[in-house]
Protein backbone atom coordinates (compact mmCIF):
# COMPACT_ATOMS: atom_id res chain seq x y z
CA UNK A 1 0.00 0.00 0.00
CA UNK A 2 2.59 2.52 1.17
CA UNK A 3 4.88 1.39 -1.61
CA UNK A 4 2.06 1.95 -4.12
CA UNK A 5 1.45 5.51 -2.90
CA UNK A 6 5.17 6.21 -3.00
CA UNK A 7 5.41 4.89 -6.56
CA UNK A 8 2.45 7.01 -7.69
CA UNK A 9 3.98 10.07 -6.02
CA UNK A 10 7.28 9.38 -7.78
CA UNK A 11 5.55 9.06 -11.12
CA UNK A 12 3.72 12.34 -10.45
CA UNK A 13 6.88 14.22 -9.55
CA UNK A 14 8.67 12.69 -12.53
CA UNK A 15 6.18 14.11 -15.02
CA UNK A 16 7.98 16.89 -16.99
CA UNK A 17 5.01 19.31 -16.76
CA UNK A 18 4.79 18.89 -13.02
CA UNK A 19 8.57 19.27 -12.71
CA UNK A 20 8.47 22.57 -14.58
CA UNK A 21 5.50 23.84 -12.60
CA UNK A 22 7.07 23.01 -9.26
CA UNK A 23 10.63 24.19 -9.87
CA UNK A 24 11.56 27.81 -9.05
CA UNK A 25 11.66 30.26 -11.98
CA UNK A 26 15.00 30.37 -13.76
CA UNK A 27 14.82 33.87 -15.33
CA UNK A 28 11.87 35.88 -13.92
CA UNK A 29 12.17 37.67 -10.62
CA UNK A 30 9.92 37.01 -7.67
CA UNK A 31 8.68 40.63 -7.74
CA UNK A 32 7.76 40.37 -11.41
CA UNK A 33 5.85 37.17 -10.88
CA UNK A 34 4.04 38.45 -7.79
CA UNK A 35 3.09 41.85 -9.20
CA UNK A 36 2.52 40.43 -12.68
CA UNK A 37 0.25 37.78 -11.25
CA UNK A 38 -1.62 40.42 -9.31
CA UNK A 39 -2.08 42.66 -12.37
CA UNK A 40 -3.08 39.71 -14.56
CA UNK A 41 -5.59 38.70 -11.90
CA UNK A 42 -7.10 42.17 -11.81
CA UNK A 43 -7.35 42.26 -15.60
CA UNK A 44 -8.88 38.81 -15.79
CA UNK A 45 -11.34 39.42 -12.97
CA UNK A 46 -12.31 42.87 -14.24
CA UNK A 47 -12.73 41.58 -17.77
CA UNK A 48 -14.80 38.67 -16.59
CA UNK A 49 -17.13 40.88 -14.60
CA UNK A 50 -17.38 43.45 -17.37
CA UNK A 51 -18.36 40.74 -19.81
CA UNK A 52 -20.79 39.33 -17.29
CA UNK A 53 -22.39 42.71 -16.74
CA UNK A 54 -22.59 43.29 -20.47
CA UNK A 55 -24.62 40.11 -20.88
CA UNK A 56 -26.88 41.47 -18.15
CA UNK A 57 -28.21 44.44 -20.08
CA UNK A 58 -31.45 44.97 -21.95
CA UNK A 59 -29.43 45.85 -25.03
CA UNK A 60 -27.72 42.47 -24.99
CA UNK A 61 -30.97 40.56 -24.39
CA UNK A 62 -32.85 42.16 -27.26
CA UNK A 63 -29.82 41.65 -29.47
CA UNK A 64 -31.35 38.30 -30.36
CA UNK A 65 -34.40 38.66 -32.54
CA UNK A 66 -36.21 35.94 -30.59
CA UNK A 67 -36.27 38.24 -27.59
CA UNK A 68 -36.72 41.45 -29.52
CA UNK A 69 -39.65 40.39 -31.67
CA UNK A 70 -41.57 38.44 -29.05
CA UNK A 71 -41.11 39.06 -25.37
CA UNK A 72 -39.63 42.54 -25.58
CA UNK A 73 -42.47 43.79 -27.78
CA UNK A 74 -44.94 42.46 -25.24
CA UNK A 75 -43.12 44.05 -22.32
CA UNK A 76 -43.45 47.47 -23.93
CA UNK A 77 -47.12 47.85 -23.10
CA UNK A 78 -46.83 46.92 -19.45
CA UNK A 79 -46.33 48.84 -16.23
CA UNK A 80 -42.82 47.50 -15.83
CA UNK A 81 -41.77 49.34 -18.99
CA UNK A 82 -43.44 52.73 -18.63
CA UNK A 83 -45.17 54.07 -15.57
CA UNK A 84 -45.87 57.26 -13.66
CA UNK A 85 -42.63 57.23 -11.68
CA UNK A 86 -40.32 56.47 -14.60
CA UNK A 87 -38.67 53.37 -13.16
CA UNK A 88 -38.09 50.58 -15.62
CA UNK A 89 -37.48 46.93 -14.92
CA UNK A 90 -35.31 45.59 -17.71
CA UNK A 91 -34.94 41.92 -18.67
CA UNK A 92 -32.23 40.90 -16.16
CA UNK A 93 -33.98 42.64 -13.27
CA UNK A 94 -36.59 39.90 -13.34
CA UNK A 95 -34.89 37.03 -15.12
CA UNK A 96 -31.39 36.95 -13.61
CA UNK A 97 -30.71 36.66 -9.86
CA UNK A 98 -28.88 39.71 -8.52
CA UNK A 99 -26.75 37.83 -6.03
CA UNK A 100 -23.42 36.67 -7.48
CA UNK A 101 -23.44 32.89 -6.93
CA UNK A 102 -26.99 32.47 -8.13
CA UNK A 103 -26.30 34.77 -11.03
CA UNK A 104 -23.43 32.58 -12.20
CA UNK A 105 -25.61 29.50 -11.79
CA UNK A 106 -28.31 31.09 -13.93
CA UNK A 107 -25.75 32.18 -16.51
CA UNK A 108 -24.55 28.61 -16.80
CA UNK A 109 -28.10 27.45 -17.38
CA UNK A 110 -28.42 30.14 -20.02
CA UNK A 111 -25.85 28.34 -22.15
CA UNK A 112 -28.80 26.12 -23.12
CA UNK A 113 -30.47 29.25 -24.47
CA UNK A 114 -27.42 30.01 -26.58
CA UNK A 115 -27.78 26.51 -28.01
CA UNK A 116 -31.45 27.24 -28.71
CA UNK A 117 -30.51 30.46 -30.47
CA UNK A 118 -27.85 28.82 -32.63
CA UNK A 119 -30.13 25.99 -33.67
CA UNK A 120 -33.19 28.23 -34.02
CA UNK A 121 -35.55 26.49 -31.63
CA UNK A 122 -37.79 29.58 -31.42
CA UNK A 123 -36.63 31.55 -34.43
CA UNK A 124 -40.15 32.09 -35.82
CA UNK A 125 -43.25 33.45 -34.14
CA UNK A 126 -45.05 30.14 -34.56
CA UNK A 127 -42.23 28.19 -32.98
CA UNK A 128 -42.17 30.67 -30.13
CA UNK A 129 -45.90 30.41 -29.52
CA UNK A 130 -45.69 26.63 -29.59
CA UNK A 131 -42.94 26.71 -26.96
CA UNK A 132 -44.44 29.49 -24.89
CA UNK A 133 -46.08 27.35 -22.26
CA UNK A 134 -42.87 25.42 -21.68
CA UNK A 135 -40.84 28.60 -21.46
CA UNK A 136 -43.31 30.26 -19.12
CA UNK A 137 -43.54 27.23 -16.89
CA UNK A 138 -39.77 27.20 -16.47
CA UNK A 139 -39.82 30.79 -15.27
CA UNK A 140 -42.82 30.25 -12.99
CA UNK A 141 -41.11 27.25 -11.46
CA UNK A 142 -37.88 29.14 -10.96
CA UNK A 143 -39.61 32.06 -9.30
CA UNK A 144 -41.75 29.83 -7.15
CA UNK A 145 -38.63 27.99 -5.98
CA UNK A 146 -36.81 31.17 -4.95
CA UNK A 147 -39.93 32.72 -3.39
CA UNK A 148 -40.22 35.30 -6.18
CA UNK A 149 -36.83 36.72 -5.30
CA UNK A 150 -36.61 38.85 -8.43
CA UNK A 151 -39.95 40.48 -7.62
CA UNK A 152 -38.85 41.06 -4.06
CA UNK A 153 -35.61 42.72 -5.12
CA UNK A 154 -37.84 45.76 -5.71
CA UNK A 155 -41.18 44.94 -4.07
CA UNK A 156 -40.69 43.89 -0.46
CA UNK A 157 -43.60 43.06 1.73
CA UNK A 158 -41.99 45.03 4.56
CA UNK A 159 -42.17 48.26 2.59
CA UNK A 160 -45.63 47.60 1.22
CA UNK A 161 -48.17 50.10 2.56
CA UNK A 162 -51.51 48.34 2.50
CA UNK A 163 -53.39 51.54 3.24
CA UNK A 164 -52.20 52.90 -0.11
CA UNK A 165 -53.57 49.89 -1.95
CA UNK A 166 -57.17 49.48 -2.89
CA UNK A 167 -59.12 47.29 -0.48
CA UNK A 168 -59.20 44.35 -2.85
CA UNK A 169 -55.41 44.24 -3.24
CA UNK A 170 -54.82 44.94 0.44
CA UNK A 171 -56.95 42.05 1.62
CA UNK A 172 -55.46 39.66 -0.93
CA UNK A 173 -51.91 40.59 0.14
CA UNK A 174 -52.82 40.31 3.79
CA UNK A 175 -54.38 36.89 3.39
CA UNK A 176 -52.01 35.27 0.96
CA UNK A 177 -48.71 37.15 0.86
CA UNK A 178 -48.17 38.09 4.51
CA UNK A 179 -49.29 34.69 5.70
CA UNK A 180 -46.68 33.12 3.45
CA UNK A 181 -49.34 30.98 1.86
CA UNK A 182 -48.43 32.18 -1.60
CA UNK A 183 -45.62 33.97 -3.32
CA UNK A 184 -45.84 36.80 -5.87
CA UNK A 185 -45.75 34.63 -8.97
CA UNK A 186 -48.65 32.47 -7.79
CA UNK A 187 -51.09 35.29 -8.55
CA UNK A 188 -49.11 37.72 -10.70
CA UNK A 189 -48.49 35.68 -13.81
CA UNK A 190 -48.35 37.35 -17.19
CA UNK A 191 -47.76 40.83 -15.85
CA UNK A 192 -44.89 41.57 -18.20
CA UNK A 193 -45.54 39.24 -21.14
CA UNK A 194 -48.56 37.66 -22.76
CA UNK A 195 -49.71 34.38 -21.31
CA UNK A 196 -49.64 30.92 -22.85
CA UNK A 197 -52.74 28.74 -22.85
CA UNK A 198 -53.59 28.78 -19.15
CA UNK A 199 -55.85 25.75 -19.04
CA UNK A 200 -54.65 23.48 -16.27
CA UNK A 201 -52.61 26.16 -14.51
CA UNK A 202 -53.72 26.51 -10.86
CA UNK A 203 -55.79 29.63 -10.28
CA UNK A 204 -56.81 29.92 -13.92
CA UNK A 205 -59.50 28.41 -16.01
Amino acid sequence: MAAGISRAWGWFRGNPWVRTALSPPGYLSLAFLTLGGFVAGVIFWGGFNTALEYTNTEKFCVGCHEMQANVFEELKGTIHFTNRSGVRATCPDCHVPHEWTNKIARKMQASKEVWGHIFGSIDTRDKFLAMRKHLAEREWERMKANDSLECRNCHSSESMDLTKQNPRAASAHERFLFSGERTCIDCHKGIAHRLPDMSGVPGWQ
Binding site: T78, I79, N166, P167, R168, S171, A172, R175, C187, G190, I191, R194, L195, P196, D197, M198, G203, W204, Q205
Partner: protein
Protein backbone atom coordinates in the same frame (compact mmCIF):
# COMPACT_ATOMS: atom_id res chain seq x y z
CA UNK B 1 -79.60 64.29 -70.18
CA UNK B 2 -80.21 67.87 -69.09
CA UNK B 3 -83.35 66.75 -67.35
CA UNK B 4 -81.52 64.19 -65.25
CA UNK B 5 -78.86 66.72 -64.28
CA UNK B 6 -81.58 69.08 -63.18
CA UNK B 7 -83.28 66.34 -61.15
CA UNK B 8 -80.00 65.48 -59.56
CA UNK B 9 -79.47 69.07 -58.47
CA UNK B 10 -83.02 69.35 -57.19
CA UNK B 11 -82.49 66.33 -54.96
CA UNK B 12 -79.00 67.19 -53.76
CA UNK B 13 -79.52 70.85 -52.83
CA UNK B 14 -82.16 70.22 -50.08
CA UNK B 15 -79.97 67.49 -48.61
CA UNK B 16 -76.98 69.83 -48.39
CA UNK B 17 -79.14 72.60 -46.97
CA UNK B 18 -80.68 70.28 -44.40
CA UNK B 19 -77.24 69.05 -43.46
CA UNK B 20 -76.02 72.58 -42.91
CA UNK B 21 -79.04 73.47 -40.79
CA UNK B 22 -78.97 70.30 -38.71
CA UNK B 23 -75.23 70.49 -38.19
CA UNK B 24 -75.70 73.66 -36.15
CA UNK B 25 -77.95 71.77 -33.77
CA UNK B 26 -75.85 68.65 -33.43
CA UNK B 27 -74.17 68.31 -30.04
CA UNK B 28 -70.54 69.12 -30.41
CA UNK B 29 -68.91 66.19 -28.68
CA UNK B 30 -65.52 67.45 -29.68
CA UNK B 31 -66.00 70.86 -28.06
CA UNK B 32 -66.63 74.34 -29.36
CA UNK B 33 -63.65 74.46 -31.70
CA UNK B 34 -64.28 73.94 -35.43
CA UNK B 35 -63.26 70.57 -36.76
CA UNK B 36 -60.64 72.12 -39.00
CA UNK B 37 -58.61 73.12 -35.97
CA UNK B 38 -56.40 70.68 -34.21
CA UNK B 39 -56.95 70.78 -30.49
CA UNK B 40 -54.92 68.96 -27.86
CA UNK B 41 -56.46 65.76 -26.54
CA UNK B 42 -58.08 66.02 -23.14
CA UNK B 43 -56.21 64.31 -20.29
CA UNK B 44 -56.88 60.64 -19.62
CA UNK B 45 -59.58 60.15 -17.02
CA UNK B 46 -58.89 58.36 -13.79
CA UNK B 47 -60.64 55.07 -13.30
CA UNK B 48 -62.93 54.49 -10.35
CA UNK B 49 -61.15 51.78 -8.35
CA UNK B 50 -62.77 51.99 -4.93
CA UNK B 51 -64.14 48.43 -5.03
CA UNK B 52 -67.63 49.54 -4.02
CA UNK B 53 -70.35 47.84 -5.99
CA UNK B 54 -72.30 50.21 -8.19
CA UNK B 55 -76.10 50.07 -8.31
CA UNK B 56 -77.49 48.85 -11.61
CA UNK B 57 -79.67 51.35 -13.42
CA UNK B 58 -82.02 48.61 -14.60
CA UNK B 59 -82.23 44.95 -13.69
CA UNK B 60 -80.62 43.63 -16.85
CA UNK B 61 -77.71 46.02 -16.80
CA UNK B 62 -74.34 44.27 -16.79
CA UNK B 63 -72.75 45.41 -13.54
CA UNK B 64 -69.87 47.81 -14.02
CA UNK B 65 -66.37 46.98 -12.77
CA UNK B 66 -65.41 48.96 -9.64
CA UNK B 67 -61.71 48.09 -9.81
CA UNK B 68 -58.78 48.54 -12.15
CA UNK B 69 -58.40 45.95 -14.89
CA UNK B 70 -55.23 47.38 -16.36
CA UNK B 71 -53.03 44.67 -17.81
CA UNK B 72 -55.56 41.91 -17.26
CA UNK B 73 -55.21 39.12 -19.79
CA UNK B 74 -58.28 38.68 -21.96
CA UNK B 75 -57.51 36.58 -24.98
CA UNK B 76 -57.79 33.07 -26.33
CA UNK B 77 -55.21 31.77 -23.87
CA UNK B 78 -56.19 33.39 -20.64
CA UNK B 79 -59.02 35.22 -18.93
CA UNK B 80 -57.85 37.02 -15.81
CA UNK B 81 -61.37 37.99 -14.72
CA UNK B 82 -62.24 34.33 -14.21
CA UNK B 83 -59.37 33.92 -11.74
CA UNK B 84 -61.60 35.68 -9.21
CA UNK B 85 -65.15 35.61 -10.58
CA UNK B 86 -65.34 31.94 -11.59
CA UNK B 87 -67.47 29.90 -9.23
CA UNK B 88 -64.57 27.84 -7.95
CA UNK B 89 -62.48 30.86 -7.00
CA UNK B 90 -65.11 33.01 -5.28
CA UNK B 91 -64.36 31.69 -1.81
CA UNK B 92 -60.75 32.85 -1.91
CA UNK B 93 -61.41 36.03 -3.85
CA UNK B 94 -64.73 37.03 -2.24
CA UNK B 95 -65.68 38.42 -5.64
CA UNK B 96 -69.22 38.08 -7.02
CA UNK B 97 -69.68 34.94 -9.07
CA UNK B 98 -70.46 35.29 -12.75
CA UNK B 99 -74.22 35.23 -13.29
CA UNK B 100 -75.94 31.92 -13.99
CA UNK B 101 -76.99 33.33 -17.35
CA UNK B 102 -73.32 33.03 -18.28
CA UNK B 103 -73.58 29.27 -18.09
CA UNK B 104 -76.15 29.09 -20.84
CA UNK B 105 -75.54 28.86 -24.53
CA UNK B 106 -77.73 30.68 -27.02
CA UNK B 107 -80.27 27.82 -27.09
CA UNK B 108 -80.70 28.09 -23.34
CA UNK B 109 -78.86 24.86 -22.56
CA UNK B 110 -77.02 25.04 -19.28
CA UNK B 111 -73.33 24.25 -19.65
CA UNK B 112 -70.76 23.15 -17.10
CA UNK B 113 -68.92 26.45 -17.12
CA UNK B 114 -68.64 29.84 -18.72
CA UNK B 115 -70.39 29.81 -22.09
CA UNK B 116 -68.05 30.68 -24.96
CA UNK B 117 -70.33 33.51 -26.07
CA UNK B 118 -69.84 35.15 -22.65
CA UNK B 119 -66.06 34.73 -22.62
CA UNK B 120 -65.04 38.30 -23.35
CA UNK B 121 -66.18 39.99 -20.15
CA UNK B 122 -65.32 43.52 -21.25
CA UNK B 123 -67.79 43.36 -24.11
CA UNK B 124 -70.44 44.19 -21.51
CA UNK B 125 -68.72 44.87 -18.18
CA UNK B 126 -66.57 47.96 -18.13
CA UNK B 127 -64.72 50.04 -15.56
CA UNK B 128 -65.88 53.59 -14.96
CA UNK B 129 -64.05 56.89 -14.88
CA UNK B 130 -64.84 60.21 -13.23
CA UNK B 131 -65.26 61.90 -16.61
CA UNK B 132 -67.89 64.59 -16.89
CA UNK B 133 -70.63 63.45 -19.31
CA UNK B 134 -70.37 65.17 -22.67
CA UNK B 135 -74.14 65.49 -22.91
CA UNK B 136 -76.71 65.60 -20.13
CA UNK B 137 -78.08 62.26 -19.06
CA UNK B 138 -81.87 62.32 -18.84
CA UNK B 139 -82.20 58.67 -17.87
CA UNK B 140 -84.91 58.00 -15.29
CA UNK B 141 -84.83 54.99 -13.02
CA UNK B 142 -87.64 52.53 -13.75
CA UNK B 143 -88.72 52.58 -10.11
CA UNK B 144 -89.23 56.30 -10.28
CA UNK B 145 -91.62 55.81 -13.19
CA UNK B 146 -93.47 52.90 -11.64
CA UNK B 147 -93.80 54.22 -8.11
CA UNK B 148 -93.40 57.98 -8.20
CA UNK B 149 -94.79 58.48 -4.68
CA UNK B 150 -92.08 56.27 -3.19
CA UNK B 151 -89.29 57.85 -5.16
CA UNK B 152 -89.14 61.44 -3.92
CA UNK B 153 -85.80 62.01 -5.60
CA UNK B 154 -87.34 61.78 -9.06
CA UNK B 155 -86.33 64.62 -11.23
CA UNK B 156 -82.99 65.05 -9.61
CA UNK B 157 -81.50 62.21 -11.68
Amino acid sequence: MRRSVFLCLVSIVPCLAAGAILAQDAPRLRGPEPFTKEIPAPPMQRQVTDDVRVRRNYPDQPPVIPHSIEGYAMDLNANKCMSCHARKFTDQSQAPMISVTHYQDREGNTLGGLAPRRYVCVSCHVPQTNAKPLVDNVFTDMDALAEPERQPERGRH
